[in-house]
C-alpha cells in the first residue's frame, strides 16, 4: 500500500540530494513556470485559441522526467506535460506549437525527441508505452517507457489494460500518474474508487508508490528507482504523484462553477517552486544571487520560446494531404487537386 506520508503537507528537504541535481530542477521548474505564464498571456492576447496550464505540477513533471535518459528512454505524454517535455529536452517552440493550433501533435520530431506526440485521448498513449517497452525488450535494448496520465485517465479501460499487459510481459514501463485531483470538474472522490491509484498496482502485481507530487526530490527519487528497476528487467512500477491543478482545466474553463477556491488557495501557497527554493537555500545548494541569475535566465528562455511560437508561420494547408498515407492514393490525389483548384488561399 502507498505510504500514508505523502499527503502533500508541509515543507520539503533536499539535504539528501546533490546541488547539481536540485539546481537543474530549479532551472527547469522556473523556466516551465515562466513559459506557462507566457502561454496564458498568449491565450489572453488571442495568439493561442486555448491553453492547458501546468502551474503547480512542475515538481511532478520535472522530478520525473529528470530521472529519464533521453538517449534511450521514450516518453508517452498526454497534453499537459509541458514541464516534462522541457526537462526531457524537447524542442519547445515545436512543442508549444500545438497550443497555437499549428499542428495537432506539435511540430517537434517525436522520434528524434523520443517524446511521443501530444495526445488528447487521455489514457490512449498508455498502451503505446507498453508496446514500445515490449518491443524494447525484444530487441535487447535497455530503454524504459514513461507513460504519463492523470487521475481522470486512471478511469479509462486502456490504463487498466496497459497495466495488466505490462505485468504479464514484465515490460520496462513507468506508469506515472499526476493526480492533480481534478478531472476537469470532477474531483478525486467522484473519480477514483478506493481513493488510491497507486494501490491499484497491487492488483497487477506491480509496486505502487504514492509520492508528494509537489516535492521534486521525492518525485525524482521514486521515479529514478522505478526506472532503475525497469531497466534492470524488474518490470513496471505505478507512481502516483499527488499534486493539484491550481489553474482552471484550460483557459476555456470556469472552476467557480464546481470548486471552492479556498482549497485551491491552500495548494497555491504550497507552491512546488517556492518549496524547492526554500529547501535549496536551507541546504546551501544555492544562494539568492545564484537563484536570481537562474530566474533571469529562465525568463529569457521562456520569452524566446514565446516569441518563437508566436512568430511561427501559420500552416498554409499544403501539408493537409501529405501525411495521411506513406503511399498516397489516387482518390486522395484527386482531392488534393480539388483543394488546389477550389480552396487553396
Amino acid at each position: 500500500m502507498p505510504s500514508p506520508e505523502s499527503t502533500g503537507q508541509g515543507t520539503i528537504s533536499v539535504e539528501h540530494l546533490s546541488p547539481e541535481l536540485t539546481r537543474g530542477f530549479y532551472r527547469d521548474m522556473r523556466t516551465a513556470r515562466d513559459l506557462d505564464t507566457e502561454a496564458i498571456a498568449l491565450q489572453r492576447q488571442g495568439v493561442f485559441p486555448a491553453y492547458v496550464s501546468v502551474r503547480g505540477q512542475e515538481a511532478a513533471q520535472v522530478g520525473g522526467a529528470a530521472a529519464l535518459d533521453p538517449t534511450r528512454d521514450f516518453v508517452f505524454p498526454t497534453y499537459r506535460e509541458m514541464a516534462a517535455a522541457l526537462t526531457y529536452g524537447v524542442e519547445m517552440v515545436g512543442y508549444m506549437a500545438t497550443h497555437r493550433a499549428l499542428w495537432h501533435g506539435g511540430l517537434y520530431d517525436v522520434m528524434d525527441s523520443r517524446f511521443g506526440a501530444i495526445n488528447a485521448v487521455v489514457g490512449g498513449p498508455v498502451p503505446h508505452a507498453v508496446g514500445w517497452a515490449v518491443g524494447e525488450r525484444l530487441r535487447g535494448g535497455d530503454g524504459v517507457a514513461m507513460a504519463y496520465f492523470g487521475d481522470g485517465a486512471s478511469s479509462e479501460g486502456d490504463v487498466h489494460e496497459a497495466m495488466n499487459f505490462a505485468g504479464v510481459f514484465t515490460a520496462p514501463v513507468v506508469f506515472f500518474c499526476q493526480n492533480n485531483q481534478w478531472a476537469l470538474s470532477v474531483p478525486n472522490h467522484h473519480q477514483v474508487a478506493g481513493g488510491s491509484i497507486a494501490a491499484r498496482a497491487q492488483g497487477y502485481g506491480l509496486p505502487g508508490v504514492l509520492v508528494d507530487g509537489n516535492d521534486v526530490g521525492a518525485v525524482h527519487t521514486a521515479t529514478a528507482e522505478a526506472v532503475r528497476r525497469a531497466r534492470e528487467g524488474g518490470g513496471p512500477t505505478v507512481i502516483e504523484a499527488l499534486t493539484y491543478r491550481v489553474e482552471p482545466h484550460s483557459t476555456s474553463d470556469d472552476p467557480g462553477r464546481y470548486r471552492n477556491e479556498a482549497e485551491a488557495d491552500q495548494w497555491r501557497e504550497r507552491d512546488p517552486l517556492l518549496l524547492l527554493r526554500t529547501a535549496m537555500l536551507e541546504a546551501g545548494h544555492a544562494d539568492e544571487s545564484y537563484l536570481a541569475r537562474v530566474d533571469a535566465e529562465a525568463a529569457r528562455r521562456a520569452e524566446e520560446i514565446r516569441d518563437g511560437v508566436a512568430n511561427a508561420p501559420e500552416p498554409d494547408g499544403s501539408e493537409l494531404f501529405t501525411h495521411v498515407f506513406r503511399e498516397t492514393t489516387e482518390e486522395l490525389t484527386r482531392q488534393y487537386r480539388t483543394w488546389k483548384e477550389e480552396v487553396e488561399p
Partner: protein, 339 residues
C-alpha cells in the same frame, strides 16, 4: 483442423499447391516472418493454440515466442501495443479474434493507428496490418459475423482489403504487411476452408487494384470477400439463360478502384453491388456513386444494391435470410435488364 496445416518451407515463387484460405494465410505469414525479422504476430490465442481458426498454426513453434505470442484478452491494448511496437521499429501483425471484437479497439484503431503518421508529420509511421476474421456465413454467435468495412474505409489513414480466395489471401497479405501504411485485412471466415490449387505468387497489382474474376457483357456484379464466390454462382446460373455477367472482385475497399469499376461498367452498362453489411451507408453506396459519376451516360439502369438488411446480424437459422442470396442477386440483375 490442425492436421491439415502443411508444414512445408515457405513457398517458392510461382509454386502451385492445394491449400485452403486459412492455410494460404498461414503460408503468407511464414513468408513474412522469414523475410523480415521485424514482423511480429500477436493476439488472443494465436500462439500456443495457433488461433481459433488455426491460421497461425505452427508459427510460434517455428519462429519462437518472441515473434509470435499470445496477449491477454483486451482488444484495445492489443492495438495500442501495436502502435508502441511500431514506434520502436517493429512491423506488427496483430489479430483481433472476431470482427465484432474490433469495436472495443476502435479508439486505438481510429484515433491512434490511423492518425499517428499524420499527427507526427511522418515521423512515426504505422506499418501495422490488423488481421480481422470478418463477415458472416458460419452460423456463429452474436458479434462473430459483422462486416465493418464501411467504418474502416471511412477512417482517414486506413487502407482496407478483403480477399476472396486462397491465392488472393496469400498475395494480398504479403502486400498489406509490406506496406508502410496501416491496413485492415478482413478475412472472410466463410471461405477459410475453401480449398483449391493456389498459385503462391508475389503481388503484381498495385494496392487498390480490383480484378475481373469472370468476364461478361450484360452487366457487372461487384463484390468482395465471400460474396465474390456467391456472385460467381449467380453468373453461372445467369449464363444458362444467356445472360453474361462480369464479376468484379473489388479486393481493396480503400482505396477503391474507381477506374476499374468505370472500365467494367462502361462496357456492361449495368451494375449490381453485393455486400453482407447492412444497406444504409454501406460501401455499396460509395461504389454506386463512383459508378454513377463515371458512367452516368453509359448506364442502362440505376445501380442496384443487394446487401444485408438494416438489422443486427441475426442468429444462425436466420443467417441465410439476412445474407444476400443467389435469388436476390438474380432479381437485381433482372431489374437492371428490364429497366
Amino acid at each position: 483442423m490442425t492436421e491439415l496445416i502443411e508444414r512445408a518451407a515457405p513457398a517458392t515463387e510461382g509454386e502451385t499447391v492445394e491449400l485452403s484460405m486459412q492455410q494460404a494465410i498461414n503460408r503468407a505469414l511464414r513468408v513474412l516472418l522469414t523475410e523480415d525479422p521485424e514482423v511480429l504476430v500477436f493476439g488472443e490465442d494465436v500462439g500456443t493454440l495457433g488461433g481459433v481458426f488455426r491460421v497461425t498454426d505452427g508459427l510460434q513453434k517455428e519462429f519462437g515466442e518472441q515473434r509470435v505470442f499470445d496477449t491477454p484478452l483486451a482488444e484495445s491494448a492489443i492495438m495500442g501495443m501495436a502502435v508502441g511496437l511500431a514506434m520502436n521499429g517493429w512491423r506488427p501483425v496483430p489479430e483481433l479474434q472476431f470482427d465484432g471484437f474490433a469495436y472495443p479497439a476502435i479508439d486505438q484503431i481510429v484515433n491512434q493507428v490511423a492518425r499517428m503518421n499524420y499527427r507526427t508529420r511522418g515521423a512515426a509511421p504505422m506499418p501495422i496490418t490488423l488481421r480481422l476474421p470478418s463477415f458472416g456465413g458460419i452460423q456463429a454467435p452474436e458479434h462473430h459475423g459483422e462486416s465493418l468495412e464501411a467504418l474502416f474505409a471511412h477512417t482517414p489513414g486506413l487502407k482496407v482489403v478483403a480477399p476472396s480466395d486462397p491465392s488472393e489471401a496469400y498475395s494480398l497479405l504479403l502486400q498489406s504487411v509490406r506496406s508502410d501504411d496501416p491496413v485492415v485485412y478482413m478475412e472472410p471466415k466463410a471461405r477459410y476452408w475453401d480449398r483449391r490449387p493456389v498459385r503462391l505468387s508475389e503481388p503484381t497489382d498495385p494496392i487498390g487494384a480490383s480484378r475481373i474474376v469472370r468476364s461478361g457483357r450484360h452487366g457487372t456484379l461487384i463484390a468482395w470477400g465471400a460474396m465474390v464466390h456467391k456472385c460467381l454462382q449467380v453468373a453461372e446460373l445467369a449464363a444458362e439463360d444467356g445472360v453474361e455477367l462480369e464479376v468484379l472482385d473489388l479486393r481493396w475497399l480503400k482505396p477503391i478502384d474507381a477506374a476499374g469499376l468505370a472500365a467494367s461498367v462502361s462496357r456492361t452498362k449495368r451494375a449490381v453491388v453485393v455486400h453482407e453489411a447492412p444497406l444504409t451507408a454501406g460501401l455499396g453506396a460509395e461504389v454506386a456513386t463512383l459508378i454513377t459519376e463515371s458512367c452516368f451516360r453509359d448506364l442502362a439502369a440505376p445501380v442496384q444494391r443487394v446487401t444485408g438488411f438494416d438489422v443486427p446480424y441475426p442468429a444462425g437459422p436466420l443467417e441465410p435470410q439476412y445474407l444476400p442470396t443467389i435469388d436476390r442477386v438474380l432479381l437485381a440483375v433482372q431489374r437492371t435488364l428490364e429497366y
